[in-house]
């Protein structure tokens, strides 16, 4: 316990002893996490918009004129078992007649003498799907029913939205990985400068019988503190920017940026700790080889 306290206090004191390194490392982590945090908020909100749009996706299936209501019920039951289908709403010929009257104010029977409106079914799709929504298999299955006359859906629009979203997610992930790797390398090189400056300290530790882990721990803890401080600064900057821009964007577009500060802080702190741990561990391990 006393040993752990000693290592912890060494890590904390090192922050003060290596002020210039600490500043460089914290600033680098701060920049990385600010970009990463912005990407996370943008990506999260884009995901929510996509969910909203997916909620609006629907497929309309029109049945052939001679299909009985009983048969339609059976077919719709089968529709519900298709993967990706969330709910169905059946519109019988009689319902269609009512809808016509409510929309046009006239009875279709009075106009054409019979009811030409087909029975149909509106299919709503699964909402909470993280991967790309692929409509093709659903459409193909619907068309296999001989009673189905026509299937209407916003295929091109849905595909364009889904493809754009997938591309955006991919680019975000690649960008995030590149930023994190660059940050790890910057931190590693910054910490390496401290290590070279402190090689006498390391030698002294080794000469009095310190194990490799004992020598490494204060430098790694120092790195973790850099990560945490960088995360706090990045979180505060994002909080202020988001509060300001959220109101601004809402005034212009009516869309509110949705985010949880606690979640964001937790993610950024974790990222900060991981990248600074990897960076400082890499530097000290290479030195002790």
């Amino acid at each position: 316990m006393d040993k752990m306290m000693f290592l912890l206090s060494e890590g904390l004191k090192n922050l003060w002893r290596h002020k210039l390194t600490a500043f460089t490392a914290v600033f680098s982590i701060f920049l990385t996490l600010t970009v990463a945090g912005s990407l996370i908020v943008v990506s999260d909100n884009t995901g929510k918009i996509i969910d909203y749009l997916r909620d609006k996706y629907k497929i309309e299936v029109f049945f052939k004129q001679n299909t009985s209501n009983e048969r339609i019920k059976e077919i719709v039951k089968e529709f519900q078992s298709i993967r990706g289908v969330r709910s169905t709403t059946v519109i019988t010929k009689s319902d269609a007649k009512k809808i016509f009257k409510s929309q046009f104010g006239e009875n279709i029977l009075d106009i054409v003498g019979f009811n030409p409106l087909p029975a149909s079914c509106v299919i709503n799709l699964v909402k909470e799907k993280k991967d790309k929504l692929n409509l093709r298999p659903i459409i193909d299955r619907l068309r296999k029913f001989s009673e189905v006359d026509e299937v209407n859906y916003q295929g091109r629009l849905i595909n364009r939205i889904e493809n754009s979203y997938q591309a955006f997610v991919k680019v975000s992930i690649i960008l995030l990985i590149i930023i994190l790797i660059i940050s790890i390398l910057i931190i590693s090189n910054t910490v390496r400068l401290t290590i070279y400056a402190k090689k006498d300290l390391i030698k002294s530790f080794q000469l009095v019988g310190a194990t490799r882990a004992f020598v490494k721990t204060p430098f790694i803890l120092e790195g973790i503190f850099h990560g945490l401080i960088g995360a706090v600064f990045a979180s505060v900057l994002l909080l202020v920017s988001l509060e300001f821009s959220s109101n601004f964007i809402f005034t212009i577009t009516g869309v509110k940026i949705d985010y949880s500060f606690l979640n964001l802080f937790f993610i950024l702190s974790s990222l900060g700790i991981v990248i600074s741990f990897l960076g400082s561990n890499r530097a000290i391990s290479q030195f002790l080889k």
Binding site: F6, R17, D200, L201, S204, Q206, V208, G209, A210
Partner: protein
């Protein structure tokens, strides 16, 4: 206690030691004497396994250089105290913390660290300067602090590499006497020096090394 069997070591740029056979017994106080570049430091570095012989083997406290695993070296060094000409004190902490360092490394409890460090500081006569930083101490005080740091972990052996190299003659004699007191309490000491006048006539064994070869022991 320390045994070197046919030990040879050479640096890429030349120098080192050649075919050294040497034994330092328990409780012995031995001087290693020779001119600068004769191989004294190399021999001490071999003894605390900072270097490993290219030929032969070094056995210290049952740790054999030809068999020891790298992860065991820290534990081996915990029974050896080292004193250097340039002190190797850490400038960023005071005297107390410098001397306490080996005890933190060895995992001692806080209370015991305080007791042991105080005891060591009293033994070297620097108990009033425990809060001073190395740059606030004279050369002699820094070297005594170095001895205290070696002594605090109660080692079996102290290896001293030219500990009087930066000290005036009076302070040098005081340091030799301090090491003699430590030796009387049961710690073996191997001290390298190039100053024959300092060590002659003290009744201790003198090992003479020249050009990496032990001439007289």
């Amino acid at each position: 206690m320390i045994q070197l069997d046919n030990v040879s070591y050479s640096y890429e740029k030349g120098g080192g030691v050649s075919n050294v056979n040497l034994t330092i017994q328990k409780d012995e106080y031995a001087f290693l004497i020779g001119p600068t570049g004769s191989g004294k430091t190399t021999l001490l570095r071999l003894a605390y396994m900072d270097l490993f012989p290219k030929v032969g083997r070094v056995v210290v406290n049952k740790y054999d250089s030809s068999k020891i695993k790298p992860k065991k070296i820290p534990y081996f060094r915990r029974n050896i105290g080292m004193v250097f000409q340039d002190y190797h004190l850490l400038d960023d902490r005071n005297l107390f913390d410098n001397i306490a360092l080996p005890l933190h490394v060895m995992g001692f409890q806080k209370d015991e660290i305080i007791d042991r460090v105080k005891e060591s500081l009293e033994e070297i006569g620097l108990d009033s300067k425990s809060n001073h930083y190395p740059n606030e101490l004279s050369g002699g005080e820094q070297q005594r602090a170095c001895v205290a740091r070696a002594l605090v972990k109660e080692p079996d052996i102290i290896l001293a590499d030219e500990p009087t190299g930066n000290l005036d003659p009076v302070t040098s004699f005081e340091l030799i006497k301090l090491l003699e007191e430590i030796n009387r309490e049961g710690t073996s000491i191997l001290m390298a020096s190039h100053n024959y006048n300092l060590i002659k006539g003290r009744g201790h064994r003198i090992i003479e090394i020249q050009n990496g070869v032990v001439r007289k022991s």
